[in-house]
């Protein structure tokens, strides 16, 4: 077995610090998810409206957020708001703002897609059975939309968790930053620690995301 410098993990509180870093990453992504999902559903429903002004605004928002690399968005919110408005946002708050903006945009597009993928004959069939608008949505459209949406939105959640690795660039000490600090501090004593610590980080991300994608797979199968 090659030397991975894993002993560094057990020095002092290093393992606990890594877990703490992971918690920060997870907390930011979970808060953002809780904000993005309801907002995304709302915007996604609005996108299917025929109002051209509304559609144009939402389209611009979606494209802007999608085209921008997340890192640029983070810099824009963290440094840009300070420069433009003199706000002193903490790195975590800036991250939550960026991730919510991004998550809302992505989620709204998923919702729009799911709503539009319900074929017209589903609405017609419901009307032909004498159902009113509320019944049509309640019994026919929404259940089918949710079924299509859950695997997609769970996938979005794992993407958000993984993308939090960028927030170390605006000074948030999350799991990857903690890993770098540990490696730096032990550069002389255990020069191979980079392998072991990054391996640990990899495993941590995996443990955070894997159950979520298992859940997605399970739901997809169950609701086929």
């Amino acid at each position: 077995m090659p030397d991975l410098g894993l002993e560094v993990l057990f020095k002092g509180k290093n393992a606990v610090r890594l877990l703490g870093g992971l918690w920060i990453a997870l907390r930011i992504s979970l808060i953002s998810v809780l904000i993005s999902i309801p907002l995304g559903i709302l915007l996604g429903a609005l996108m299917t409206w025929k109002n051209p002004v509304m559609r144009a605004i939402l389209r611009v928002y979606l494209e802007f957020i999608r085209i921008m690399p997340q890192l640029v968005l983070l810099f824009l919110v963290y440094f840009g708001t300070t420069r433009a408005f003199g706000w002193d946002l903490s790195g975590e708050v800036a991250s939550v703002i960026v991730f919510s903006l991004w998550g809302t945009a992505e989620m709204s597009d998923l919702v729009r897609g799911a709503l539009q993928s319900i074929p017209v004959h589903q609405y017609e069939s419901a009307a032909a059975l004498g159902m009113n608008r509320v019944q049509t949505y309640l019994y026919i459209i929404i259940p089918q939309t949710i079924r299509r949406l859950i695997p997609l939105s769970i996938n979005l959640i794992t993407r958000m968790i993984k993308t939090t690795s960028l927030i170390l660039m605006i000074g948030v000490v999350e799991v990857l930053k903690v890993a770098q600090q540990i490696i730096e501090a032990n550069r002389m004593a255990s020069p191979n620690a980079a392998f072991g610590i990054y391996l640990t980080v990899f495993i941590l991300y995996f443990l955070a995301c894997w159950p979520i994608s298992l859940l997605a797979k399970y739901l997809e199968k169950r609701w086929k």
Binding site: E124, A128, L129, G130, P143, W223, K224
Partner: protein, 245 residues
């Protein structure tokens, strides 16, 4: 008065280059208990016509009178009530995938406020009628296309409609299954005396089921009469094209 009266029906869709006439001056009447076929090539306006009969599409002009009621004059609420008496089956069977066959058939009854027990009893009765009683606990994915269409037919029958609209009901099925669905429709027509309107592009469907037929071309009725008449002496080019296709 006939059971179904369609008078001077017109449907115009607004389009970028002015107006697009889907139906113009379509009139016909159907006696109670008859099977009326509407045949035409794609784009002739068949689907629009059948959707105008239960007002899924609102006609631009004209009257649709079913069982003595002018549907154009009804409120949304009254219209929904009437629609429960007008069954419709589609090319896509539109079954709920998460519910088993029995629950699918019960579904519109529950929505209409029928008691669960009564709904189940009726559902089983009509599943029996379409020959699928033993599949009551199966899910739609476990059934073939023909069986799914049978479930859709049982579902529509369970609401005990007086008029049944079939929009290309057999177009997604193979010839053999088509045959069995058609004989089921004939059987239902005899047994329950339900008036039917069948939309199709296949001459065979008309031949095997209908009493009267209208040939639709470019949104207008080119020719209309009993099936034998049209088959033996087609007067128009449109009818000839469809018969000798």
């Amino acid at each position: 008065m006939s059971f179904v009266e369609v008078q001077h029906l017109q449907k115009i869709y607004p389009s970028q280059s002015g107006e697009n006439t889907a139906l113009s001056d379509v009139s016909f009447s159907i006696e109670k208990g008859r099977i009326f076929g509407i045949i035409g090539l794609s784009g002739a306006g068949k689907s629009t016509l059948v959707r105008c009969i239960n007002l899924l599409e609102k006609p631009t002009d004209g009257h649709v009178i079913v069982d003595g009621k002018d549907l154009m004059a009804l409120s949304e609420r009254e219209l929904r009530k009437v629609r429960q008496n007008i069954g419709m089956i589609f090319q896509h069977f539109n079954l709920l995938q998460q519910r088993n066959v029995l629950d699918n058939v019960c579904f519109p009854l529950e929505v209409a406020g029928v008691k669960k027990r009564e709904a189940r009893r009726r559902a089983m009765e009509y599943l029996e009628a379409v020959g699928l009683a033993e599949k009551a606990k199966a899910y739609p994915v476990q059934l073939s296309g023909g069986q799914q269409q049978r479930v859709a037919i049982a579902r529509v029958l369970a609401a005990e409609p007086k008029l049944l609209l079939c929009d290309e009901a057999t177009s997604a099925l193979d010839p053999q299954t088509t045959g069995s669905i058609l004989s089921l429709l004939r059987e239902i027509n005899r047994q329950y005396e339900i008036t039917m309107i069948i939309i199709t592009h296949e001459m065979r469907v008309i031949q095997e089921t209908c009493h009267e037929v209208a040939v639709l071309e470019h949104g207008q009725i080119a020719e209309m009469g009993t099936v034998t008449e049209i088959f033996d002496h087609p007067k128009t080019e449109a009818a000839r094209r469809l018969i000798y296709q």
